[in-house]
């Protein structure tokens, strides 16, 4: 069934999502840097009245980065990778082309609406599931559209076997669909009460401990399926493509994929250790979190071994450097998480800055670097231009890596310091510190973290500049590069 004629892939939709990945990355990370600075310098809370406090902006940061930057990146890569591994062009189907554009259009409008709603404080106050029910319905339509795109493209495929990346895209689609639907089950109060009050308001179907369980089953695994599964989909395609090396082991891919699928969902309850959730559930969360090291490291090791004998590429190709560092941060993050889930460690770590520290070595190092590497790899092939500047990628790499290291080290120290101070007692067994003592002591670490965030943001601006110059003014290329992405010095 393989067609011999070279296919002309259509990147219209992939390009659109590339633009929004850059746009939302800038917005989300700018807000992130601002709220990091607010913790060190509280005067910064009053820049835009009631809309600019830390508490109001924090969901804006998390949601714009997760659902803006990351999802755009995931969808840009999907609309690029999907066609290539299935050996069909979007241009072959008017329906799929329409679906892709509809997907993007609704997503962009929905994203802007959500940003406004969060600023106004219209929220369910469930982390990463803040959106009220009318927005949820739009999000479901967007998600289903993506599902139709995936299976529509698969339906007209020439390559019969699904490549590993597609396994992960399919899993991301199914996993998030299930989690999001169940966690957002709510009754709109306007209709249930016969037309009283705000039409936007709803009340959760679950209460108290149950709500907590469903929320963290969602919260942990929405993270799992967006930050991990869909990013692994990318590295399985882009690392072999960029390096010209075949994946080290198919069997290891199998083990990692099915292992990850089975184990990941159990680990959600590690967010509820020492809570009012039954002990056995907490223990399951801990046990499975530790087991999770196997499939996580399985993928990461598979990636690193793919580079076996080709490590010289690390010095020559900055995209390989980005991806290898991404895998390494994935390993760091997936060993750190299980450690934090162990009950005795969790007693210190929970509620402290060690948790955002952990999240950020994962998202800045793993997700951010992988997404940017993928977009750099795609740009010359989509826009038929070489990358504007290799040197800028190198600068960006070091600025951002410095930022990440400062970020997680300062948050490790802050978290453990605070956790230990909360429980410190004097010789008579009385608490040694009032709560505010444990806040004041964090000032230097919050300052370092704000600087770290700023470094990463500066790196992102360098990335955005490089991408825009690539699209607009770099040298044209006539033939598609086989592997290594062409870039000007």
């Amino acid at each position: 069934m393989q067609s011999n004629a070279a296919l002309e892939y259509d990147y219209t939709v992939a390009k659109l999502f590339t633009y929004t990945a850059i746009l939302f990355g800038i917005i989300g990370m700018t807000v992130g840097t601002l709220i990091a600075a607010q913790l060190a310098f509280p005067e910064l809370n009053y820049l835009i009245g009631e809309y600019g406090t830390f508490s109001r902006l924090r969901p804006l940061h998390t949601d714009v980065v997760i659902y803006g930057f990351m999802l755009s990146g995931i969808w840009a890569t999907f609309y690029y990778v999907g066609q290539r591994v299935l050996k069909v062009s979007m241009a072959e189907s008017k329906f799929l082309m329409f679906l892709g554009k509809f997907h993007f259009g609704l997503y962009f409008v929905g994203a802007l609406a959500v940003v406004v709603s969060l600023l106004l404080g219209i929220t369910q106050s469930k982390e990463y599931a803040e959106f009220e029910w009318p927005f949820d319905i739009v999000i479901v339509v967007i998600w289903v559209t993506w599902g139709l795109s995936i299976f529509g493209l698969i339906g007209i495929r020439r390559e019969k076997s699904l490549y590993i990346s597609l396994w992960y895209y399919i899993a991301a689609f199914l996993g998030v669909a299930m989690l999001y639907l169940f966690n957002n089950m709510a009754v709109p109060t306007y209709f249930a009460s016969g037309g009283i009050g705000s039409i936007l308001h709803s009340v959760s179907m679950y209460s108290g401990t149950n709500d907590a369980l469903v929320q963290w089953w969602f919260g942990h695994n929405a993270v799992a399926f967006v930050f991990t599964v869909a990013i692994i989909a990318q590295i399985y395609y882009f690392l072999p493509k960029e390096s010209g090396q075949a994946i080290y082991s198919y069997k290891l891919s199998l083990l990692s994929f099915w292992g990850l699928m089975f184990v990941y969902l159990w680990a959600g309850s590690h967010h509820l250790v020492w809570s009012t959730v039954p002990d056995w559930m907490q223990t399951m969360g801990t046990v499975f979190s530790v087991v999770l090291i196997l499939p996580s490291w399985g993928s990461a090791i598979n990636m690193l071994l793919t580079m076996k004998g080709e490590w010289n590429q690390l010095t020559e190709n900055p995209l390989i450097k980005l991806m290898v560092l991404a895998s390494t941060f994935y390993m760091l993050s997936t060993i750190e998480g299980p450690i934090q889930s162990i009950k005795s460690v969790n007693a210190i770590a929970h509620f402290t800055d060690w948790i955002p520290g952990h999240v950020h070595d994962g998202v800045l190092g793993w997700v951010g670097f992988m997404t940017m590497a993928a977009l750099f790899h795609m740009a010359p092939r989509m826009f038929k231009k070489e990358i504007y500047s290799k040197k800028l990628i190198d600068i960006q790499f070091w600025v951002q890596t410095t930022g990440i290291v400062l970020y997680f080290t300062s948050m490790w120290i802050a978290g453990i310091t605070q956790g230990m101070m909360w429980r410190a007692v004097d010789e008579y067994g009385n608490l040694m510190y009032s709560f505010i003592d444990t806040v004041a002591v964090l000032h230097p670490y919050y300052t370092i973290r704000a600087v770290a965030g700023l470094l990463y943001l500066v790196g992102f601006f360098i990335f955005a500049y490089n991408m825009v110059r690539t699209m607009t003014s770099a040298k044209k290329i006539t033939e598609e590069p086989a592997n290594r992405t062409p870039m000007a010095a």
């Binding site: 969901p59 899993a171 009050g197 308001h201 209460s207 709500d211 369980l213």
Partner: protein
């Protein structure tokens, strides 16, 4: 088997779904009925308290404050009795939070008063000089949404059988009764406050967000 699955996307997707859905079934469902039972004596939130809970959600207090006291001596010494599952039976959604940039609030009603909250929300540094919490002055002028809070109470009463209007319980009644009850409660709180604009508003039958929020915070015990 795996090679076959990779050529049959439908069965592949079904397989993936079963494998990921499995954990939820086993881990979440068994405890559902038991975990939602209230502790003895727990009353549903009044309309004003619910309106305050909405303010708590709107300004996203969970970004920095937890409502979950863990069973350690260091926590019970600091915050009081550790939290019990049944205390959250009427919390939709739960508001445990995941980060303590500020202290836990699950029993803040035991050791903070109306005037403390008033000073603190107007200018946190006036009561805690080293505080990094922002001031929430807009709560003194924005009005609480009492009707939506009433709609929420009526919804949970109808849909989830939350025991409003039970003997010795929280009264809900009609919309007008709900509004009147909230205003009466608000007047009692405003009497302990010093901000003249807030006092005037309540006297004129309007309820600023801060009054509702304090009603909610005082209820957390």
């Amino acid at each position: 088997m795996f090679h076959w699955l990779e050529k049959n996307p439908f069965f592949f997707a079904v397989g993936v779904f079963l494998v990921i859905a499995f954990a939820g079934l086993i881990e979440i469902l068994p405890n559902f009925a038991e975990a939602s039972r209230p502790v003895v004596g727990l009353k549903p939130y009044t309309v004003l308290e619910l309106a305050g809970k909405e303010v708590y959600k709107k300004d996203n207090c969970i970004a920095c404050h937890s409502q979950l006291i863990r069973p350690f001596k260091s926590e019970t010494d600091r915050y009081g009795q550790y939290s019990l599952s049944g205390e959250y039976a009427y919390d939709r959604p739960f508001l445990w939070g995941s980060k303590r940039t500020g202290p836990d609030l699950h029993r803040v009603g035991n050791y903070r008063s109306t005037d403390w909250h008033e000073n603190h929300m107007w200018d946190p540094k006036s009561v805690v000089p080293q505080s990094i919490m922002p001031a929430y002055k807009h709560m003194f002028t924005n009005l609480a949404d009492i009707d939506t809070a009433y709609a929420e109470a009526l919804t949970v009463k109808k849909v989830f059988n939350t025991p409003y209007d039970a003997p010795n319980g929280t009264k809900l009644g009609t919309l007008d009764e709900g509004r009147a009850g909230a205003l009466e409660e608000a007047k009692a709180i405003a009497a302990d406050m010093k901000n003249q604009e807030v006092k005037d508003a309540v006297a004129a039958g309007k309820i600023p967000e801060i009054v509702a929020l304090i009603a909610y915070l005082n209820r957390l015990k």
